[in-house]
Symmetry: C2
Subunit: 421 residues, 2 copies
């Protein structure tokens, strides 16, 4: 598919994340002081809440769908409504649209906009589904012989995360305290995390609810769109707490998502198949078609007041399991899925050393610190570091992006209880 | 504290779960076909939604609090409102109340009422905090030498569960399918769970939200009330999936809670301390006072069409960690807690063989099946089995109960996908 041209000239640049082919969903703080739903187009945001209020977009005969300023209500309308809306917005913004002049009143500059959570996260599940990542981490924790757990090639391994800790890009992240124990310590202590890390992931958002088990094809159809996702991780807390029941407080400080949800429709031209299976999958996990996407991903790290270094470059297609497979597995028990469920892909690492999606892997557990362009070295994150995740599917003369997914590490509090006992 | 007498005569019986001392919160299907908020009193339910609609109870100057028919909105009003409401209802129902006759119009027989979910579960966390349970399970899975994980005496181990799977007592539970692998199998298969189990737990409901770390005392104050909780568990699915990131689909079929939330205020006379520590706790986990409760618990199992056998009897005070400690630990990372978060205590087992809160332990992994009064034996649950959890704090001439927490096991579907591919 070629670039679709828009009368919003900045959307026709090969450099923008947001050509007419994309039309991602976000929420922003509007001039009226309220959250509004917006669609990104080039350097601008189309104010959908204002369009609806003026009767220029109507999704429901009776109720306002965008008045609350996030996309949860819209998602619940279902896939036919998603497609109809996309057609409407494409017509509004396409080159040659007859009412372009009237529509400029509904455009807001994107650079100044404060972005808000684009949907209400119902529940959050995080997976562990890149074979390179699982092998690297497993090798460090359990040795090369036992790197991949026995179930790994059969199950998209996942665990439930904490929805209340999901924040939008731009939110600062406070270094957590936690219970941790060094390898040479007899007893644990309560201290600030010393091995604070990122995880480069994609997030899939469930837009259609389910009650019983769903097939991989049905699961794919339930997905509303994708975001970039950074699952901040406290490695020292994780190492001490995670046996036998998995990560808990190590993953509960924050998970950042990109400000824009890219609709599945925009990613269609970039579908690719999961890699060859090393063990035959059970039928319920077999894919009826390509369910991964060719999306280039990178992580930038900027120390406070210094320029950014790109510390990792990888691609979503490196995953062993797709989000559709993960979602299908998630429903096997009869687990009901809800509108707004967020599924983290798991850290996305590729085969190369610079394609690793976490400092834990990049620095090999701290043994091989990463050297930044400024000459500083990083085993794990330091206070003041700003992380930026970027992602783009590359078309012919255009790209489909998500906007930067950023967060800055604030120092731990001196006393997390503020003197309270 | 003695029995407080009510003009609802059945509330003065030593046998009822619901004397005036209790006043637990539930939701029921009213004659108007809507969910109503109710308070149990003896054999009756006081219809609080109807009282509010008639202006006889008013919690908020502007908005109806009980109109939606569950207690989420009420919880969000905060602890002062909880206390004021309890005083109001106590006055309405106390022996000698002047308007007793008028109030009879707001009483509904409890036996006929269809009970509904009493609150909206925001997120669900399950713990692993009975030392007897952890030791039993650990011995079976890892041997007596490694029964308790190294962190167990320092951390109230927990994992995030699935809020969407929480159901109210009386809901049938369909035996799940899942991916499982027998010890002698080379490869896993997709099959109905053959080792379906219960877990006898208490659930604590968070009524006050938090942003940063909270102390144990603050955590205790945040708890709105307690329910009985049965965390249905697919042991064969769990055994294959749970390494390295913890239980996932094994715990996502259903978690049943009692129909009535017992307010913390009703349990005050029954507070007891946690057992002696075997390892000194870090300061942030130390309790400023007794935070467990002396609540007798039991599990009844009735095969289809046969009488019930009580298969386990234990007490909530057997826990090593209290819900307040669990909640305090839950916030250490800065994890925000929300109104309606549900914290499962973890399976509650006592020192005696018949005090074990799961069939996994009672039958020692299936090696020592439990014999029922009917002569049947159980290693794990069979189709048609009805489980009933009961709990009561025993006062002088009265008890504080939760109502039965029941569920019947339905057979697995022949094809969970109904022929869909």
């Amino acid at each position: 598919m070629p670039l679709l041209r828009s009368w919003v000239e900045s959307a026709n640049s090969a450099d923008t994340d947001f050509p007419l082919n994309n039309l991602p969903y976000g929420s922003f703080l509007a001039d009226d002081g309220e959250a509004h739903c917006g669609v990104a187009i080039g350097d601008m945001i189309l104010d959908v809440t204002a369009l609806e209020a003026d009767g220029l977009v109507q999704m429901d005969d009776e109720d306002a769908v965008f008045a609350f300023g996030d996309w949860t209500e819209f998602m619940s309308l279902g896939a036919a409504a998603w497609a109809a809306f996309r057609t409407t917005v494409t017509e509004i913004l396409a080159e040659g649209a007859t009412d372009a002049e009237a529509m400029t009143a509904f455009l807001v500059p994107r650079t100044d906009a404060k972005m808000l959570m684009p949907f209400m996260v119902a529940e959050y599940t995080d997976f562990y589904a890149s074979k390179y990542h699982a092998t690297n981490v497993g090798t460090m924790f359990r040795g090369a012989e036992n790197a991949l757990p026995p179930n790994w090639l059969s199950i998209p391994i996942g665990y439930n995360g904490r929805a209340s800790s999901v924040v939008v890009s731009g939110s600062d992240v406070r270094r957590p305290w936690g219970q941790l124990k060094g390898p040479d310590d007899d007893l644990p202590r309560f201290a600030p995390c010393a091995r604070f890390d990122l995880e480069l992931e994609m997030g899939a958002i469930v837009g259609t609810p389910s009650e019983g088990p769903v097939t991989v094809g049905e699961a794919d159809a339930m997905i509303f769109g994708y975001v970039l996702l950074n699952d901040w991780s406290a490695r020292d807390i994780q190492a001490w707490e995670y046996q036998p029941l998995g990560p808990f407080q190590a993953k509960a400080t924050a998970t950042s998502i990109s400000p824009w949800i890219v609709p599945k429709a925009a990613l269609e031209p970039f579908r690719v198949s999961t890699p060859d299976r090393e063990r035959v999958l059970l039928d319920y996990l077999k894919e009826p078609g390509p369910m991964l996407y060719d999306i280039d991903l990178e992580v930038g790290l900027a120390p406070e007041g210094k320029p950014e270094t790109v510390i990792a470059q990888t691609n979503y297609k490196e995953m062993y399991y797709s989000s559709a497979q993960q979602l299908a597995h998630h429903t096997t028990s009869g687990c009901p899925m809800s509108v707004g469920d967020l599924l983290g892909s798991g850290t996305i690492s590729g085969p190369d050393k610079n394609a690793r999606g976490a400092l834990l892997e990049l620095s090999w557990g701290g043994k091989e610190p990463v050297t930044l362009d400024s000459g500083e070295r990083r085993s794990f994150l330091e206070d003041g570091d700003t992380l930026t995740l970027r992602g783009a599917a590359k078309g012919d003369g255009y790209k489909i992006g998500f906007g930067d997914c950023t967060g800055t590490v604030l120092p731990a509090l001196d006393d997390p209880y503020g003197g309270r006992k």
